[in-house]
Amino acid sequence: MSLWQEGIRRHRGWIAASLLGFVVLAFAPALLPPFYLRVGTLFLFSAALSLSWTLLGGFAGYWSFGHTAFVGLGAFTAALLEGALHLHPATLSLAVGAAAAALACTLLSGLLAWPILRLRGIYFAVAMLAVAQVLAELTSNVDAIKGALGIVLPRVVLPGVAQHVLYYRLFLVLLFAILAIAFAVRISRLGQGLVSLREDEDTARMLGVPTERYKIAMFVLSAALTGLLGAVYAHSLGYITTESVYRTDISLDMIVYCLLGGIGTLIGPIVGAALMTVVTQVVLGQLLGIHMFLTGALLVLLVLAAPAGLVGLLARRRQVPAA
């Protein structure tokens, strides 16, 4: 597979940096005070979500404005199934719940793909927004789903690992697993086809890129990973309601982080999530009254100063596409 060898060789600097990043982040809990560990957990979760979003939005150019649909569906699938099965130990319950969440999102996105991916641009974005709304309404109003009342999830305990460190570690592993998947997609034939369809879908098809199949594959993969994250997120919360997992701000944050860091790149969503998490939680957390106002103003400034994202700003002189 010369394509893989070539991709790995070309990006070996990024691979080394990612491994280093993983090691540093893996040892961080020993040094960080609990508050910063919570900020770190939120960063890892946000970055993983943004990376899952970018598989479709960044690579194929299909911007979903309702990806929280899959966070919510994943969370409630896990919560309901685990509540019904009562598996022991709770780690097994989490694993089964997370797998079921990914499966549920695979099925839903597979069903939605055919009608919804025929829509391009803003129409697709709005259709996904509607999907999220419909799922949120169903979750709140169908009594069996208990969205309004809320569901308590089994408490996962690992001997010797504090509760807040556990989810930090889980999201760390998930983030790097998703990063590896996204990297594999990006350097493969699939990835290059996706990028060409983002640029010009009709021309891509004329050149032999199976655009329909590729779009559907990415939609489903992106949804499944988002659902998996939703299930783990539900466990980290311990108790979920419709409002806590079907959140428009989650949908928007995924996009904002990708835009900030550099859309279409892999490092972009991670940089964007790191920046915004630190800024909103640490810097602006002290200024609760004007927190949202400052966040908005900062976003506007960043987008104006760096329309191609921070990665784009740094790479502009070098003509090197950041992977």
């Binding site: 010369s2 990028v195 010009d200 021309t203 098809r205 004329m206 032999g208």
Partner: protein, 241 residues
């Protein structure tokens, strides 16, 4: 001998108007053929039918004896027909090399030797020096060559080139002619749509003349140029000749 491309009794109507009416033509293996005719003659419609953007209303299109009408642009590309557009359609956010690479990756040969095929197509089109530049920054003459490089990186049997010289100056036109000849020399048949008669006469083995949706003449350049029907329909009235 079986022709490379056989278009047989093909018609296509748009809102009751015949864009193509009962047109048959054979593109031989190893040829450079040209499709000429006044505006509205049906040249673009024919290209769109062959590359699969439209289905013929009647008639059949076959590549080396296998029907390709109605199978869609994706599978037609896979079977070995590549198309270069008059209005170049590069992937603007990708580099020149990445553009050509898409052709190499998804062409009829699949993923073998992608790097070598890409390099080769870039060199052939004289774009090697610009390989790492964004395609969006290329001037028109280079864009046309990129269009051709991306098409031949797919290793097609037949290249459809839609007015590759339109709007180019003399030296750029010469570059395109040389490139088309080299593509042809490598065993790819070329079917051109072109308005530049001097160019068509120089480069073509065979010329098909369409007028108002019908084929009115075909043959080698000298014969077509002398054909009174062609002169009347395409080159103007006989008095002007």
């Amino acid at each position: 001998m079986m022709p490379l491309l056989r278009i047989e009794r093909v018609s296509r109507h748009f809102r009751g108007v015949a864009a193509l009416d009962d047109v048959s033509l054979d593109v031989p293996e190893g040829s450079i053929s040209s499709l000429i005719g006044p505006n509205g003659a049906g040249k673009s419609t024919l290209f769109n039918l062959v590359s699969g953007f439209f289905r013929p209303g009647a008639g059949t299109i076959a590549l080396r004896g296998e029907r390709i009408d109605g199978i869609g642009p994706l599978r037609i590309a896979r079977r070995g027909i590549a198309r270069a557009f008059q209005i170049a359609r590069p992937f603007p956010g990708l580099t020149v090399a990445e553009n050509v690479r898409v052709g190499a990756l998804f062409g009829s040969l699949g993923r073998r030797d992608v790097a070598a095929v890409t390099r080769d197509a870039l060199t052939l089109a004289g774009l090697a020096a610009r390989a790492d530049q964004p395609a969006a920054n290329l001037p028109l003459g280079h864009l046309r060559r990129l269009e051709l490089a991306r098409a031949i990186a797919a290793r097609p049997m037949l290249l459809l080139a839609d007015e590759p010289c339109a709007g180019l100056n003399r030296s750029e036109t010469e570059e395109i002619i040389a490139l088309l000849r080299e593509i042809h020399r490598r065993g790819v048949a070329v079917l051109l749509v072109e308005h530049d008669m001097a160019m068509v006469m120089r480069i073509s083995d065979r010329i098909f003349v369409l007028d108002a949706g019908s084929k009115i003449a075909e043959g080698p350049p000298e014969a077509v140029a002398r054909d009174p029907r062609v002169i009347a329909a395409y080159l103007g009235t006989p008095e002007e000749d």
